[in-house]
Symmetry: C2
Amino acid sequence: MPGAPLVLTMGEPAGIGGEVAMKAWLRRESADIPPFFMIDDPDRLTALAGRLDWPVPVRPIDAPEEANDVFAGALPVLARPLQGHPTPGTADPAHAGAVIAAIDEAVGLVTGNRAAAVVTNPIHKLTLTQAGFHHQGHTEYLAELAGGNCRAVMMLACKSLRVVPLSVHVALKDSIAMVTEEAIIDTVSITVDALKRGFGIAQPHIVVAGLNPHAGEGGTMGREDIDIVTPAVQKLKQSGISVRGPVPSDTLFHERARSGYDAAICMYHDQALIPIKTIDFYSAVNVTLGLPFVRTSPDHGTAFEIAGTGVADERSLVAALKTAAYMAERRRNAANAPEDSVA
Amino acid sequence: MPGAPLVLTMGEPAGIGGEVAMKAWLRRESADIPPFFMIDDPDRLTALAGRLDWPVPVRPIDAPEEANDVFAGALPVLARPLQGHPTPGTADPAHAGAVIAAIDEAVGLVTGNRAAAVVTNPIHKLTLTQAGFHHQGHTEYLAELAGGNCRAVMMLACKSLRVVPLSVHVALKDSIAMVTEEAIIDTVSITVDALKRGFGIAQPHIVVAGLNPHAGEGGTMGREDIDIVTPAVQKLKQSGISVRGPVPSDTLFHERARSGYDAAICMYHDQALIPIKTIDFYSAVNVTLGLPFVRTSPDHGTAFEIAGTGVADERSLVAALKTAAYMAERRRNAANAPEDSVA
């Protein structure tokens, strides 16, 4: 029996979400993409496909359970009509309610086991904020919907690298203050747990990047690596985790180095994002760890400047869909496995 | 008539400098390495070659002018004997005087046109400091020897990328304070000049990385990109330089992005070093811009942990030697070219 389908949210309807979703659907056979359905307005997608002259039949469905059968012949869409059609490239706060409702509904479906995992299309935070959305971001909102007492952690993954930044969307100087023992310990622990449950890695090997150049070189270029990172790594080791660091971040991401660990914990956004986007700009996936369900998303934004033109690259969404299905299956197997099994 | 040979300093004699130099000499034909001579102790190099069983005849010379003829059949060494043989892996402050004297002499030879360019082997700053060396680093010392009123700027270069960090060996939090309009303008100007004179690029295209994630995303993640980087870029543009930025640093280093500029100016050490060492860990070269002569060095340290074993990778020194020769020839041509020529 095939598992439940993936649910893909609408995201900002003036962005490229609809286009990359249709492009992914068109590659469903060649790229071996697992069945998914969207929560979206079927009419706006049909209009978009027509404008772009893409052979994507859009099929409204009433329930997720219809999606697996529909998927081979049409793009299944749990129909949630918008008020008026969005204009590609121009976000309209009037659609904010529907954007948020799609996220809410997707979380309800995955927690009710009617969807295997949530894949989210990019939202445009400023537009949502103008409409009264007061959450820090997409991921934080999902964490709240999931119950509030989970710490959501962003991982970026491509074929040869997984990176987890300690902080995300804050100024560089503020991110330095967020390098604490507690944050490192929490982030490593969540990552290890996710690699076991979601990726089937029995004993994950973790490396922790240093904050300063050369990891501070004995304290001559900043004390944080000695005073904060080192003790955190020691405590993690004592708890039985395979972890090493702080390692100078510039020595950590070349091909041979990457083969030595399962995930690198990075001290700030760009320390994680620079290497992965240098290596694989188009197919990196954003995976949210620490939630009670699987959530992935493409690693790009709404791309208003190209929305509606059909040139958007679908590779990151394709990878997000495939990664979500893989992780959901791993977690299902882990849940059904004997208690002492990890995958 | 062949030009003057390159001069290669001894560097820390307990490090891997001698080994990579001999490995590079062994590849002189296959890798098309330009003639160079070392300032070093011929006896200690002969002993090292003997211990490693490498076919490297070491030939003492009395003057740089002998090097070109010697080079095909032996490694030419301007003989500056050490007091006792160094122990690989264990630095001895007793040799600090000779380490520094080799640098001094190399600068004298290149400014006197008896060497085409200076290539430096890695030094071990702590050992030199213990012996009374009070300069901030190798590069700063070279700048002083060169006359003091030049601003030396470090560029790292590999085949597909050149990066120039605004600051180098300081704590990350201190590097943020070093992001000033003046520093950006100076660094871009020096880089443009060097690309014209040393690399023969008539109209260099420069990109300036943002300091904060997403270059601050309109000021929501830090104001420095708006308040400092943007005005600096504007002023540089007004002075006729082809420059753009601030650009989010995670979008700047994938293959397609790299083809859009000749050098990326980075706001701190790891923002520059992470991408280049991710792309090309073994062959990146350190080029010092802003000096009145050409200086390059391999992009690694003394590597005490492997010194004396023969496993050290010579590729970065090979690239440093070839880059130095290329740049020296460019500068010589530029000096001989009509005044309105740039290459």
